[in-house]
Symmetry: C2
Subunit: 398 residues, 2 copies
């Protein structure tokens, strides 16, 4: 009790230790294309059809035999008969997307023709295949269209639709148990008035659950667990059917902080205390195959633990591609940022024109500082801080 | 028929003309905090409660009267009696988040004390207010917490929860009518086999609708409208209850392209043809107060029109903040990109380590090129292209 952490794992090492324990879910389910955006493909998708499935005109114009147009020019046009069929000496009107008649092998754009009655003056020469989309030119039967693990976007749903898919197999969403703990917590469902002094409405669990949804998981909210080692152990055991467990609170080193011990008692403690400010008391572990993250009770510290560990863990569980980097805004700092060596500093910032201003003096307990922030920057553990005018990478707050 | 566009509006001017006609929706609805993420606040939010609502200890330690600790040091400790109440000469145990007794004005961290039985040796001096979070320190009654138009994130939902909100008023989502047109189109709901040559499954409308959802709107899919000016006019009229109308197809200059005329007949044509490759045939207008975008039928051209105009229009309709810039990836080009002066070129790219490779030779009809793309870059209209090694801004494809 009352000791500062004797362990402190760097954020990078802690993340590696945590992710090592996590495997992407294997279970899949079928979803309709209309509900497929954001989901991750459970297997590779091969084209089962040719797209286009017929020889398609790329232009409004005339379907011709290319050989009939040889030598044609505005000064030296070739005359073809307008017909419904294409044979030597005849051509047929065709619109963009229309099927090119079997005997034709090219389409002449309408701008290169003059039509008078049943005669079409051909004023340009075309080569075979010109303006004709061949069968399977876009996608051929057997082509690999998407790899397993691809996260679907609206344009991808359209590709799948064009291949005749109605549903598509995607990975199941990870189920994440969210367990708020603390004698001081009062459920928002039960109390609508200001609770008595010394008690607060439970809000960290809500925040964790909503980030879980944002990052591709399904939160399952547990009732509030008091600061009682046995009750916490029970709550963990009951939730071992989940794909991940988040305990919010009870992870510091006070008399009432039982989360790390409960975790250690049932499974394996991987990390107790990380080099992050805020976020130091973050504790990570594993019970059977279920990764467990104990989030600090201070709301901003909890947010940092969510961003650093839960987000990455969930994305791995959900099979989301991790190789695509995070886009950032490059911005100049409007004010100095100080940071403690040995800790990654999570600095909330506000965008101000072409620069960013750090929100100073906002402790880990001040969630309103997050409400004010547009994004955050990270000061690495070996950097003492930044000066005004330094260029930094800013991540938008999700 | 068969003419190239005699108008061509630059993307920038076209967007300005379109957005000028669009006002954010005013209608609002209440949603539960659990469903509030991504929604836009219909009004400013003021704090109706103080957070914290009691004097809160920031530490595990002892609540004291600061004056009792004057001069205390490890060499020269002050002895206080351990009690349940704080008076001159006594102190009380308190945990993080606990209510500081009325008579106390500071909390001494436990690390600066040694406790023996009922006596606490105070080994440091504290000033009044130390480690005590005052009432309303985070948020005070009447404080402006969020401005109207703020888009809610999970952390914001937690802030609102801590203020006692159960529901929150947000702007209604824009209703967007999606009208696919074209004699060649076949509904995916009706045909599951490969359709006959000359006909294709309707997929552009699905893509448009899914992007509408992604960008905060609610798509309402219309049945497929044939290339018949009267039918198209009817379809527009029937959908004038929507907040925006998208017509997919029928916007080029062929015999069967009636969308611009239908739009002009009922309302006002703002833009016919834009300086974008792909995407040239994009047509924009307004009927009564309903913005209408006619999307080219070539899927990639349709995608570009969605990205350039519909996305911005929807975000404005939905009241989403436009001042927050898009984050990008700065990458070097792995290959040359050529572009036509006078047109913004939408170049699909694949990430390859620290560089990006443009997907070349992928026409506007080749939707599979989008499936392969991780993102895109834009070549401005006054730039002829980029050389290998040039640094470019890459946007991830949503």
């Amino acid at each position: 009790m009352g000791k500062i952490f004797n362990e402190r794992t760097s954020v990078e090492v802690a993340l590696t230790l945590f992710l090592e324990q996590i495997s992407p879910l294997r279970a899949s389910e079928e979803v309709r294309l209309e509900a497929s955006v954001g989901r991750v493909l459970a297997g590779a998708v091969l084209a089962g059809r040719n797209v286009p499935h017929y020889r398609r005109s790329a232009m409004d114009g005339y379907a011709v035999r290319a050989s009939d147009t040889q030598g044609a020019s505005p000064a030296n046009p070739v005359l073809l008969e307008l017909s419904d069929r294409v044979e030597e000496g005849s051509c047929a009107w065709i619109h963009t997307g229309g099927p090119v008649p079997e005997e034709a092998d090219a389409v002449l754009m309408v701008e290169d023709t003059v039509t008078t009655g049943d005669l079409v003056e051909i004023r340009a020469q075309v080569y075979p295949g010109r303006n004709v989309g061949g069968i399977g030119e876009d996608m051929k039967v057997g082509d690999l269209i998407f790899e397993k693990g691809h996260m679907l976007r609206p344009c991808d749903a359209a590709v799948l639709a064009s291949l005749g898919f109605e549903k598509v197999p995607v990975l199941r969403k990870p189920l994440v148990a969210v367990i708020p703990t603390g004698d001081e917590l009062v459920s928002r469902d039960k109390v609508r008035e200001v609770p008595p002094p010394g008690t607060v409405l439970e809000t960290n669990g809500l925040m964790a659950g909503l980030y879980v949804e944002q990052w591709g998981g399904i939160p399952r909210y547990s009732e509030i667990i008091p600061d009682d080692p046995l009750k916490l152990k029970e709550a963990l055991e009951v939730n071992l059917d989940a794909d991940m467990i988040l305990i919010s609170g009870g992870t510091s080193v006070g008399k009432r902080d039982h989360a790390p011990e409960a975790l250690e008692g049932l499974g394996k403690l991987l990390v107790r205390g990380v080099g992050a400010v805020p976020g130091k008391p973050t504790t990570l572990g594993i019970i059977n195959d279920v990764p467990v993250a104990c989030l600090p009770g201070y709301p901003v510290a909890g947010l940092v633990a969510l961003y650093f560990f839960v987000r990455a863990g969930l994305r791995k569980l959900a099979g989301r591609p991790s190789e695509i980097p995070e886009p950032v805004l490059k911005r100049r700092l409007a004010a100095k940022v100080s940071s403690k060596i040995g800790y990654v500093n999570f600095v909330r910032v506000v965008l101000e024109g072409d620069s960013v201003r750090p929100l100073m003096g906002a402790g880990a307990g001040v969630l309103s500082s997050v409400a004010k922030a547009d994004g955050f920057l990270l000061v690495p553990e070996n950097v003492e801080g930044y000066e005004p005018g330094d260029e930094v990478d800013v991540f938008l707050m999700e």
